[in-house]
C-alpha cells in the first residue's frame, strides 16, 4: 500500500499519520522485558503513563497502561522495577506519538533475576574471570585512589573520610556515576575506563551503599564485569552491605564488605604504621644496647681477673719465689762455706801440726828414696844411692857415700 506522493501532490499530515497508525497497529502484542521509570498516575485519570527502559542499552519506549492493570500487580511495581509486560505498540495519530499499550504487567521475579545472575556467574567463572591467579595485589600506599560512586552519596563520604582519617595525605580522584537503574552499569564502566587510563591512579574503588537486589543489579552486569576483569589497575568492590554480593565482588581484586571497609583495606593506618616502626626501632635499639652492655661488663670482668689486671702480682710472686730461693741458697751456701772454712782451718791446723815444715825450718831435712819412701834407717840405703832431700824451702838430690853404723 505504497502511497504515491510528490511535491505536486503532497499527502496531508493526517494521511501520513493515519498510514503510520494503521501500519503499526497491525503489529500484534509482544512480551517485553524492561525497567519502569518516571511512572506517573494522573489523579482522576484511569491511565498510567511511564517509560519502559531497556535493561542494558540506553533505549526506552513510552507506555500507557490501564490503572486497574497497573495496580493489580502484587507486590506493586514502582519506578525502577524490572518487569515483563505484554504490550501492543500504538501510534496516536493526533499527536504522532508511539507508546506501548500495556495489557499485563509481571515482575521479573527476584528468583528469575537471581537465576539469571547465577547463569551469568557460571558462564564467567567458566571463562576464568574470577580465577584467583588474576587477582592483582593492592599497593600498600597508593599514590592516587580512584573512586567510582554516586554523587554526594553516603558511600563517597564513607570512603573519603575513613581513608583520610587513616592517612591524611591520601589523594583521591572521584568519578561520579549513577549507581542504580539501567544507565548505571554503562556509567560505571565509563568512569572505570577513565580512572584505569590515569597512570597516577593505583587502585580503583567502586562503592555503593545498600540497596535492593534490583538496585544492585548493575553491579552484576556482564559488560561491567568484563570491563573490570580487563582493567589494568586493581579494583576494589564495595557494594552494599555485608550480605550483598554482586558479581562485581567476584571479579574485583579485593572485595570489601562496605565502603568504610574498603577505605580501611586500601589505606594503611599511618599512625599505626608509624607506631609500629617506632616500636621496632626502639626494640632494636634496646636489644643492641643490651648486648653491648652485657659484653662490656663481661670484658671488664675478664680484664679485672688478677692474672690480667695485676700481672705484677704474678711476677711479684715469682720474684718472691726467686728471692726466697736465693736467700735459701745463700744461707745454705754461707753455712756450708763457713763449715768448709772451719773444716779447712782445722785441716790446715792439723796439716800444719803434722807438717814437717816447721821442723824443716828448724834445720831438719827429709830424705826420700826414689820411690818416695822416707829414709828412717841406715839399712834402707847403700852407698851410691841417689836420694832426694827436702828442706824447708825446696828439694835437691844427694848421694850416699858410705853406710854408717
Amino acid at each position: 500500500m505504497a502511497l504515491e506522493t510528490s511535491p505536486d501532490a503532497p499527502a496531508a499530515v493526517r494521511t501520513i499519520a493515519n498510514g503510520i497508525a494503521s501500519w503499526i497497529n497491525q503489529l500484534g502484542a509482544v512480551w517485553v522485558e524492561g525497567q519502569l521509570t518516571d511512572v506517573s498516575i494522573g489523579r482522576g485519570t484511569t491511565t498510567v503513563f511511564g517509560t519502559l527502559r531497556d535493561t542494558d542499552a540506553d533505549i526506552s519506549l513510552r507506555f500507557t497502561c490501564n490503572r486497574r492493570v497497573f495496580e493489580a500487580v502484587d507486590p506493586p511495581v514502582t519506578d525502577g522495577s524490572r518487569v515483563l509486560v505484554n504490550a501492543k505498540p500504538n501510534f496516536f495519530a493526533r499527536r504522532g506519538t508511539l507508546a506501548l499499550a500495556v495489557s499485563e504487567i509481571r515482575h521479573v521475579g527476584i528468583g528469575e533475576l537471581l537465576a539469571r545472575i547465577e547463569r551469568l556467574k557460571q558462564l564467567l567463572a567458566a571463562e576464568g574471570l574470577f580465577a584467583a591467579y588474576r587477582k592483582k595485589p593492592l599497593p600498600f600506599l597508593p599514590h592516587t585512589i580512584g573512586l567510582v560512586c554516586g554523587r554526594d552519596s553516603a558511600a563517597e563520604r564513607d570512603v573519603l573520610e575513613n581513608a583520610k582519617r587513616r592517612w591524611p595525605a591520601v589523594a583521591f580522584r572521584v568519578e561520579y556515576a549513577s549507581v542504580q537503574g539501567p544507565a548505571a552499569a554503562g556509567e560505571v564502566m565509563t568512569a572505570l575506563r577513565r580512572l584505569d587510563a590515569d597512570e597516577a591512579v593505583e587502585v580503583i574503588v567502586i562503592a555503593r551503599g545498600g540497596g535492593s537486589l534490583e538496585d544492585l543489579l548493575p553491579f552484576s552486569d556482564e559488560g561491567l564485569i568484563r570491563a573490570v576483569s580487563k582493567a589494568r589497575t586493581p579494583v576494589v568492590s564495595a557494594i552494599g552491605h555485608e550480605p550483598d554480593s554482586p558479581l562485581l565482588d567476584l571479579v574485583a581484586d579485593l572485595r570489601a564488605s562496605t565502603p568504610t571497609d574498603a577505605a580501611k583495606r586500601i589505606v594503611p593506618d599511618v599512625r599505626e604504621e608509624l607506631d609500629g616502626v617506632r616500636l621496632l626501632r626502639e626494640r632494636g635499639l634496646r636489644a643492641i644496647t643490651g648486648w653491648l652492655d652485657r659484653e662490656t661488663h663481661a670484658l671488664a670482668a675478664i680484664r679485672s681477673r688478677p692474672s690480667l689486671a695485676a700481672p705484677t702480682t704474678d711476677l711479684q710472686r715469682r720474684s718472691d719465689e726467686i728471692a726466697a730461693l736465693l736467700d735459701r741458697s745463700r744461707r745454705t751456701l754461707t753455712h756450708r762455706l763457713d763449715r768448709a772454712g772451719d773444716d779447712l782451718a782445722h785441716r790446715l791446723a792439723s796439716v800444719r801440726a803434722l807438717s814437717p815444715k816447721a821442723t824443716l825450718e828448724r834445720g831438719y831435712s827429709v830424705l826420700q828414696l826414689a820411690d818416695g819412701t822416707a829414709v828412717r834407717e841406715v839399712g834402707q840405703v847403700s852407698p851410691g844411692d841417689v836420694l832426694n832431700a827436702r828442706v824447708s824451702d825446696g828439694r835437691f838430690d844427694v848421694e850416699v857415700q858410705q853406710d854408717g853404723k
Binding site: 635499639l285 653491648l292 659484653e295 670484658l299 690480667l308
Partner: protein, 72 residues
Amino acid sequence: MTADRPEMSYEQAREELVEVVRKLEAGGTTLEESLALWERGEELAATCQQWLDGARKRLAEAQAAHTEKKPD
C-alpha cells in the same frame, strides 16, 4: 691489627682471651710462657675493647643521624 677494624672478630678475640686467662690462672707455665700469655691477654682485651667501642660509636652515630632526619 688495623686501627679502626681489628682483624680478629670480636667473638674470636673474646674466646681466646678467656682461654689465655684460664691458662694463666692454672699456672704451671714457664716464666717466658706466662709473660707471653699475659701480653697476648692484653692484646686480645684491647681488640675486644676496640670492637665494643666501635659498635658504640656506630650506634651513637646512627642514632644521631636518626634524630637529625626526624621531620619536625
